[in-house]
Symmetry: C3
Subunit: 308 residues, 3 copies
C-alpha cells in the first residue's frame, strides 16, 4: 500500500486510509524499537536534511533518531551559522541543498504554509515538522497512535484539547485527524484563546469550563502555554491561568472515571499541568515521546519510495 | 597519479597537472553521484574535522556530504559553543583535535593565510574552505568543472568576473585557476571594488562597463555583493549597484550570443542578479552546487593518501 | 571484571579497583587507536546522547570520537536551539530523550550535582563530563593514565596541582583519584583560590610558594585561570598572577630534576603557563588529549553492559 501523497504537509490533505496506513506501519516500527538491535536498513543510501528554522528539542531529536534507525544519511541544518542570516530565500536554500542529491527534507519553519510553498517547487519529499500556527502533523499522528494504543480505537473516542487553541499547530493537526477518524472533539480554554468560528469550521464542540470538559472526555490533550504570550493580554497571569485551566490532581480525582492525560511537551509544570499529574499513571506523555520515533520512522519510510 | 601538494591551501600553488587531475577525478565522482547508491568506501576509517570559524551553508554542507559519501567519519566544529571563545589559539585548537587522531582538516577562517600558517605546523592534510579575502580553492575548482562540462574546455574560454573583486576570495581563486589553464579573464565592477594593480599582477583585463564585458565573454561569473559592505561608501546604494552592474534579462537578451551565468551563492536576487536571470536556462548556479560535492570528493580523496 | 557502579558521577565514589580497571581497559583502547582502523564494534546498536549545557571543545569532541570509534550511534544536544530555553526541567528533558530509547547520557552541566540528581531518577547510565565546580572524572582518569604511562605508577608519585583550586572541578577529581591511588598531592596557588579546609578534608598539602612546590613534585598539573574571574578581586591581575604562579622555562630550568608538566586545556599561553614550557618536551598536554579518547572509550565500554 502507498500513501495518496508525496509529502506530509499536514493532516488536512490526508485520507483516512493514509492515516490508518501510517499508524499500522508505525506499529511495526515500534516493535523494532523494543529489540536490542533497533536499526533497520530500510533507508540506506537515502539522504535526509533536517532543516530547522525554529528551535526544537524533541521533534528534531526524534526525527534524527528515526532517520538513523532507518539507516538514512542525516544532515542537520539550523538557522544560526548558515546563509539564512545572509538573506537567501527559503526556496534558494532548499534548491541548493537538493542540488547536492538530498532525497527528503524535514522542515520546521515559523511561517505557516512554508512546506506547502516548497512542495510546489521542488521534487524531493517534504515532511512538515511544524509550520507557524498551521499544522504539526507528526505530533497529531503520534497522539493518535498513543490513544489507539491505550483505548484500542479512535472512532467514538471523546478527546478534549485544552489551552491556547488559537495559536497551536498541534491543536489544528489533532482536530483534523481526530474528526476524520470518527473521534469527538471538544476544545476548552479562555475565550480569548479559542477562535470564534471553530465550531462551524471544524465540527468540534467548545466548552469554556474545564471541569465540565474533563467530565465529558476520555482523553485530555493539554497544550503548552507559550510563556512569551503573557505580554499579549490574552490571559491575565500564569497563576490565574493555572487556577482556571490548569489540570490538577484534585480535579482529576474529582471525576467519576480515569481519563488519559496527554501533552505535546515541553511541559510548564504548575502552569497548564500540575507536577503530580504529569508524574501520575494517567499521564502518557513519555509514551507519546516514545511513539513519536516509531511514527516518524513510518512517515519517512512510506514517503521514501522504498515501499513496493 | 598524485597531486604535487599535501594540502589544498589555494589554487596559487597548484600546477596545471594538479588541476587537471582534480577535475578528471571529480568527473568520476560525479558519475557515482548519479547512481542510486551514492556512497563509496574510499575514505573508510579516515576521520575528518570540519573546522568552521565563519558561518556557511553550502560549503559546510557540501563538504559534509562529500565526506559522508566517501564513508569518512565526520566531526563538525563551529565557533560558537567551543573553546575558541575561551581564547585558545588556532594552532592549539587544531593540535588538540589532531591529538585525537584526526586525519584531515577542512578549515574556513576569517583570517587570510590561516590554513597556510597551519600547514607549516601540523602533519594532517588541510583543505582551505575559504580564508578571509585570500582564496576559496574548491569554489574555483567547481566553477572550472562546470565551465568545462558546459563548453568542453577551459583553454581559450573568455570568462568575465563581475562585482566586488577587491574583497572576494572566489575571484582570486578563479583568476589563478583560469589564467593557469589558458582561459582569458576580464574583471568588471565599480572602480572602488577593483584593485588597481590587478592587470599587471595577474594578467587579467579590466573593464568598468558591464555591457561591453558581457558582449565579450562566454561565461559571466557574478559575485555576491556583501550587504554588510554598504556602509563603507564603496558604492552608493544597492539600487544604483543594480542599475550599473546588476545582470538583468534585458541585458542578456541584448547580446548577440547566449552566455553562461554563474554565481557562487548565496544570491541577492535583484541586486547583483535579477530573479529571472537566476531562474533562466542560462544560469548554471544549481549545477555548480551539484558539481561542488563531486569536486570536494575528488580533493579529499586525492589528499587522503589512499591513492596508489 | 565489572565496575562497582552503574554511572560515572565522579571519582569520589569509585573504588581503587574501579580506577585500575578503567586505566587497564584504556590501555587496550589506546592500542586500538594506534592502528590504521581505529573502529571497534563494541557499542554497535547503543545510542548515546551528548547533553552539553556548557560550552566545550575538547571534552565534547573527545567523547564524540570515543563513541564513534566504539560504533555507537551518537546524538548531540547543546543548550542553544533547544527546549532548554523554553524552561523545561533537566529531568523532563532527559526523560524525554530516554523515552526515545537512548542508552547512555554524557552530561555537562553548570550545576554541581546535576548528574547525581539524574542518576537517582533515570535508568540509563550517566557519565559526568563536568558538573559545576564539583567533579570532572574523565579528566582525572586521563591525567592519571598519562602519569602512569610516563612514570609507570601512581603510588608514591608526587603531584602538584597549581592554580585556582577553589573553583576547579579538575582539581577535585584529581585529588580524589590521586589520594585513593597512593600518590602524594600538594596544591599551590594564591591563598584566595585555595579552600581553607582542604588539608584536613582531603589529606593534601598546601604550599603558597610555587618554586618550593615545583622543587618537591614529580608532576605539575597546572590549572587554567578562568579569565572571567578577573573581576572578582581573587587575584590582582593576570600579569601579577603570571609573575607569582605562572610556570616559566626559567623556573623549570632552575629545578634539580626534570618534572612533567600537565594542563587540562585550553591553555592561556603567558598566564598560567609560558609558551616555551607548553611547547617543550616536558609538557605532555597533547598526550593527555590523545589519552582522553582511550579513557573515554574505556568508561563508555565498561558502563555499557556489553562486558561479560
Amino acid at each position: 500500500m502507498q500513501l495518496s501523497t508525496r509529502h506530509l504537509l499536514g493532516i488536512k490533505n490526508l485520507t483516512k486510509e493514509d492515516i490508518s496506513l501510517i499508524l499500522s506501519t508505525a506499529e511495526q516500527f515500534k516493535e523494532v524499537l523494543q529489540r536490542p538491535v533497533k536499526k533497520v536498513p530500510s533507508l540506506r543510501d537515502v539522504t535526509i536534511v533536517n532543516l530547522f528554522y525554529e528551535s526544537s528539542t524533541r521533534t528534531r531529536f526524534s526525527f534524527e533518531l528515526a532517520e538513523k534507525r532507518l539507516s538514512a544519511d542525516v544532515i542537520n541544518f539550523s538557522t544560526s551559522g548558515s546563509s539564512v542570516s545572509k538573506g537567501e530565500t527559503l526556496l534558494d536554500t532548499v534548491n541548493n541543498i537538493l542540488s547536492m542529491k538530498v532525497n527528503m527534507v524535514v522542515l520546521r519553519h515559523s511561517a505557516s504554509g512554508a512546506p506547502h510553498f516548497l512542495a510546489n517547487h521542488i521534487p524531493a519529499a517534504i515532511i512538515n515538522a511544524g509550520d507557524g500556527i498551521n499544522e504539526h502533523p507528526t505530533q497529531a499522528l503520534l497522539d493518535a497512535f498513543t490513544i489507539k494504543e491505550k483505548l484500542g480505537n479512535l472512532n467514538g473516542v471523546k478527546v478534549a484539547i485544552i489551552g491556547d487553541i488559537m495559536h497551536s499547530r498541534v491543536s489544528m493537526s489533532n482536530i483534523y485527524l481526530l474528526t476524520k477518524m470518527g473521534a469527538k472533539v471538544t476544545v476548552c480554554g479562555p475565550p480569548t484563546l479559542i477562535p470564534k468560528y471553530i465550531r462551524e469550521a471544524f465540527g468540534v464542540e467548545v466548552n469554556y469550563n474545564l471541569k465540565e470538559t474533563l467530565d465529558w472526555c476520555d482523553v485530555a490533550n493539554v497544550l503548552r502555554i507559550q510563556l512569551e504570550r503573557q505580554d499579549q493580554v490574552l490571559f491575565s497571569s500564569l497563576r490565574e491561568y493555572n487556577l482556571a485551566y490548569g489540570v490538577s490532581k484534585n480535579l482529576l480525582d474529582s471525576l467519576k472515571k480515569e481519563i488519559i492525560v496527554m501533552h505535546p511537551g515541553p511541559v510548564n509544570r504548575g502552569v497548564e499541568l500540575d507536577s503530580d499529574v504529569m508524574d501520575s499513571k494517567q499521564s502518557v506523555i513519555l509514551q507519546q515521546v516514545e511513539n513519536g520515533v516509531a511514527v516518524r520512522m513510518a512517515v519517512l519510510y512510506l514517503l521514501s519510495n522504498r515501499t513496493n
